[in-house]
Point group: C2
Chain length 356, copies 2
């Protein structure tokens, strides 16, 4: 078994387990730091190991365009290229094509798009998306899906579900040697979500992602989608909520049975001087806050960001010094903040696991 559920919560749908990959096993539920272009911004792979990161997520769209596959292939794959020996999940590029690229044309065969940076034209098919991820050496590859924003008309959402299923079928033709996950679309429409779920799970993927959420919809609508979808997902396959989220949202999603998360906010906020701090040891209510280190009130504050935190940053540097680093735009500050925020998120997941 490549996914083992070790424990189920008694009062919620939360589950604790182990997901096995070609590069080691991962305790679930887990959070994936984002290494968009083959680097978690401002930290080294040693930093990630020190933080206890179990897996990272890289973006196929970005890596395919820059540095490009021949360069990563010459290194022997993405693990070797970025010097990370743990598991890597790669997205399919779909989300970026639909949000970043100049979109040319979408057909059942695939999608024509133009690089948002240099204008070069590309054609991506579902098979090619998997083949690219195979070349990267991805431990968990994602199928190409049509990811639509919020709000979306029922017509548009229906088409996206149809195309996502058609593409998922074509994706099955390629074997990667690793895991391949299907993606369920359907916006915030119950019938479409259940239709997508039925069609995608019928294809028997190694895991299932819920896509098209955390794209701007009200948070209660997102929880509702989880309430529709999660109980009908196969229990023995890992479940991944793409792009989520804030700590309290992760807690809620785990309760509904989600096992996997990724989000840019801990690392992006870090680079803007926003530090996460626990207010108490519970996972309920406002159990944490964010500190904007640039505020004048931290001028001479010699305390660490969080005196209860044992991350490298809190063990070595004061709020006063971190504020100084951000005010002078010093990249050491970005690294120290990234280390702290990832520590917060990874510790959050450990607390969640222990609570199950």
């Amino acid at each position: 078994m490549s996914f083992i559920i070790k424990k189920k919560a008694s009062r919620s749908a939360a589950r604790r387990g182990i997901l096995q990959t070609n590069h080691g096993s991962i305790q679930t539920p887990f959070f994936m730091p984002i290494a968009t272009r083959g680097a978690v911004k401002s930290v080294s792979t040693d930093d990630l190991v020190g933080l206890g990161a179990q897996i990272v997520l890289s973006n196929t769209y970005h890596l395919y365009l820059r540095p490009g596959l021949p360069i990563i292939k010459s290194a022997g794959g993405l693990h070797q290229f970025m010097n990370w020996s743990g598991p890597i999940l790669t997205d399919s590029g779909g989300f970026q094509i639909f949000s970043l690229a100049k979109l040319r044309k979408v057909t059942n065969k695939g999608v024509n798009f133009q690089d948002d940076v240099d204008g070069t034209k590309h054609f991506l098919t579902p098979q090619k998306a998997i083949t690219i991820q195979k070349t990267l050496g991805s431990d968990i590859a994602m199928v190409l899906d049509e990811c639509i924003g919020y709000p979306a008309s029922k017509k548009k959402a229906t088409e996206a579900v149809k195309r996502t299923t058609a593409w998922a079928k074509q994706s099955k033709k390629i074997k990667t040697g690793g895991k391949v996950f299907g993606i369920i679309q359907g916006s915030v429409y119950q019938d479409l979500r259940l239709k997508s779920l039925k069609e995608i799970t019928a294809l028997n993927f190694d895991g299932y992602a819920i896509g098209g959420l955390a794209v701007g919809e009200p948070i209660q609508k997102m929880y509702k989608v989880l309430d529709w979808v999660c109980p009908k997902l196969p229990v023995d396959k890992p479940r991944y909520l793409m792009g989520l989220g804030k700590p309290e949202q992760i807690v809620e999603a785990v309760k509904r049975g989600i096992d996997m998360f990724d989000c840019v906010i801990p690392t992006r906020n870090a680079r803007h001087g926003m530090f996460y701090v626990y207010k108490n040891k519970s996972l309920r209510g406002e159990f944490y806050q964010q500190i904007n280190i640039k505020l004048a009130k931290f001028k001479t504050d010699q305390k660490p960001i969080d005196k209860a935190c044992n991350c490298y940053t809190c063990q070595n540097y004061s709020r006063s010094y971190l504020r100084h680093l951000f005010l002078i735009n010093e990249s050491l500050g970005w690294r120290l903040a990234t280390i702290h925020n990832l520590h917060f998120y990874l510790q959050l997941m450990e607390r969640i696991r222990k609570s199950i």
Copy 2:
């Protein structure tokens, strides 16, 4: 004795020794990484310890203006503020006032200047320059000097020597609890250099710096100044050549009897993707080269920057990956390059010490 010479070279004026400070002793000759604003750009103090850095240099001018003394004082001094437990040398601010600030007026009492960033006006006296460094907790403080550029008229150089001596006398009135070094000026004029040397050494400082070099003069003129000055400096005091330099220049200066160096080039070049690499194990001729990692020829080069180098960067990352990091402007690249270049410089100093 706070400075002990342990060995003298037989064929040159090079000497090897130990300089004792309030924060530990330092093997001489040595190189000081530059922590301008209380951080060696893009690396942590743990990185510096790992590299074997013995001492860092911080800039009084920058720290005085931002974050300002009250903030550093509230931390208990610069060591605590930046979390560095080793020795710190601070410059007097003179060089920056004469090169960066909007200069208002120079008198024998001191210098009026305007912050180059926010336009605030300040008045710095020789006594105040030492008092500021005392507040910072500097292990080696430098006197305020009048640092002139190259070329300088004899008239201007004469005035600078006169004022530097007058200021040095006033500096002697303040005790710091650490070392205070005098600075010898005189541009490229032999008589002025010797006059300055005589006047400054008569004041009996803890060490002597040669200032106003590496400011654009032809390199042979710089060596000539060292040839005039070094033989007449007291043998039992450490000698510091401010702002130098390229590896081969450091080798030449050590041969003339210099013990201490600082320079931005290894760290600044690192942030531009320029990596130092040894060509051979000698310290003669073109014993090293610089690699511009952005060049296309490194696209798929899976070798480390230097296969003989045991720095963290060379042990973990390929040229191909480092090139990618620089092309996407990723701050991890700046850190990895800084680690490598500082390792190169610190290893250079170790090779030099072993050669004596």
